[in-house]
Symmetry: C2
Amino acid sequence: MSNTTITAPKGFLAAGLHCGVKKSGNPDLALVHCPTGARAAAVFTTNAIQSAAVVICKQHITRHPIYAAVINSGNANTCTGAKGLAAAKVMCAKVGKELAVDADSVLLASTGIIGQPLPITKITAGIERAATLLSDSAAAGLNFAQAIMTTDTRPKQACRSVEIDGKTVTLAGTAKGAGMIGPNMATTICVLTTDANITKPMLGKALKAAIGNSLNRLTVDGHQSTNDTAMILASGLAANKPIKTQTEVGFRRFSKALTELCVDLAKQMALDAEGATRMFTVQIKGAVSKAEAFKAARAVADYDLVKCAVHGADPNWGRIICAVGSCGVKLNPNRLCCKIGDTWVFRNGKPVAFDAQKVSAVIAQKEHTITVELNVGKHSDFCFGCDLGRDYVTINADYHT
Amino acid sequence: MSNTTITAPKGFLAAGLHCGVKKSGNPDLALVHCPTGARAAAVFTTNAIQSAAVVICKQHITRHPIYAAVINSGNANTCTGAKGLAAAKVMCAKVGKELAVDADSVLLASTGIIGQPLPITKITAGIERAATLLSDSAAAGLNFAQAIMTTDTRPKQACRSVEIDGKTVTLAGTAKGAGMIGPNMATTICVLTTDANITKPMLGKALKAAIGNSLNRLTVDGHQSTNDTAMILASGLAANKPIKTQTEVGFRRFSKALTELCVDLAKQMALDAEGATRMFTVQIKGAVSKAEAFKAARAVADYDLVKCAVHGADPNWGRIICAVGSCGVKLNPNRLCCKIGDTWVFRNGKPVAFDAQKVSAVIAQKEHTITVELNVGKHSDFCFGCDLGRDYVTINADYHT
């Protein structure tokens, strides 16, 4: 298909533009509209401090139908008190007015710097302009994807099609986030669209599962933003028989496609993480529980010394073992094993002689897998991580308030 | 006093030299000897994977008296299996032979790269030479301090004197560690000496308290090494009345001096952390428990985005609030307050107007304090941290196996 943006599924119009929040002049306001009304679901940050946008979006997501979602970048509208809450409501009201829908049928998200007042006048002027630019073109979808970016160097977009009841169902999405990314809602902002005909509860279940196996498996710096939001809007225009239960084939197909799409976005995010040059998957096997497997996977992926070693393409497996050893999961030191790519580097508690140059070349790829076998149980889990480059520091030391 | 090294307390001889573990030619073998025999105590890493040196040192520390401690840098002797354990025993046996004491009256520690065989022949030759160089001079103490360094750019040493029973009791110490530093035994290697006359159990209690309030309050990258060891040797030659209980004045004075000394070492470590240019203290107030206060303090000090902001001298308090919000401690969003130095930047859940240039100048100092008030309880705790500089990445991406 030629359009692989969020306007690819039937029933969606999008726009993205610069309204003046960002000093750089880059796009900072994104609007998506489903004129026929959409079923919607969302997952949010669990940070105790939450953006005013998250507070309001949590109220609106319970409604049906949802007609639009508006996102601004460059300002998080977090730690902004009552004024911030009022500004978030004004954003929805303005979209409602421009699109002639209820304010509470509009979802929203904000991303950017914390603790500064939202320049609401600029944003409402931007919303007015965005409403006139709404289009189902691929260009409009790309504008949207660009307008939610913060320190991202490129937009992240993914699209999938799946056959359900003889109908082609399309799913598409865009995500932003290049730092402050940790599991427990790993992304800052992710907007997904689909023309699937699916009930709101089933949409919620599919979203939760997809995020759980993709964005929630990604860690850049172990951080969890105050603004994390992933939302999905389903227009139903693919005209498949409505997906109502988790057991039906349609649900499984939809869910699988949504997970693949989100994994695609998660990997794009890892590869564009602040200062990152490559990504890796940490696979933990033989844990006493899935939770412990994930804890260990995350410990390795979050371990700065491992991330630096990956940056230097250095097969320094001692740091991997150190990370696993210090994270508190049950393991058998004498049966502990570690593999980088397909090469064993540590087996049953002892170093293995290996070709360091060959393994270094594996690490130097865009993507590789680190496997650790704890050998105390039957459970596995994984985590996506990326290397830690000098530019992470440059970006985050110079990103001034 | 002119000698402020570990040979300052009465009864200690030290040596440090290059025996060939480090390719750089830098000193890599350190030996301290107490000819009259010392009472000793130690604390160790809780990492599930432990160096052979830690395994053996844990056995020997139960003994009395202790006559010596030997430390090599450049190789961790970790993940080295049965050969590693044998090598650790050989180290102690060789020291025992040279000093004519039992092998199990010798403590040891190793620090450096994980997973490579210890070059034991070089080390035993080094021990033989070190034994002939033992001296109570300040130069010998400095040699010792230099020989335990890995990526440290300078030795860390501290010395205190305290009057107990009309006698001058001297305490001294050296520590290494510039990366892979997190609480739960924060340092890699710390060697302390004193001429205090104090029982072994009281020495252990004083050490635990001192480390708990100093090295265990320091985080550079949240990592916990497989080799962390802090040990103290007490010669008793100050001839004070033996310290036997925690309630006596002598214990309190000794304990206070030891804590101050360890805080001094911890701050030196923070300032010399890999890539760091400055340090900071995170003070958490109003937590529901001391454990939650520490958890929040550590969350802030470990937060890469906060560390980058400190590196850029940027008063980006939003990242501090985000760190506190995501660490899972109880807090009141509407009463949350944050102070950088003496300047309130966030009060009762709302931003406060402040002079950004003035606060930036505070952060740019060698040392400043970040205070966060959770306002849900009466408990406080703190953590030391340092900034995250580009050189952390350079050092750890290029430190090749």
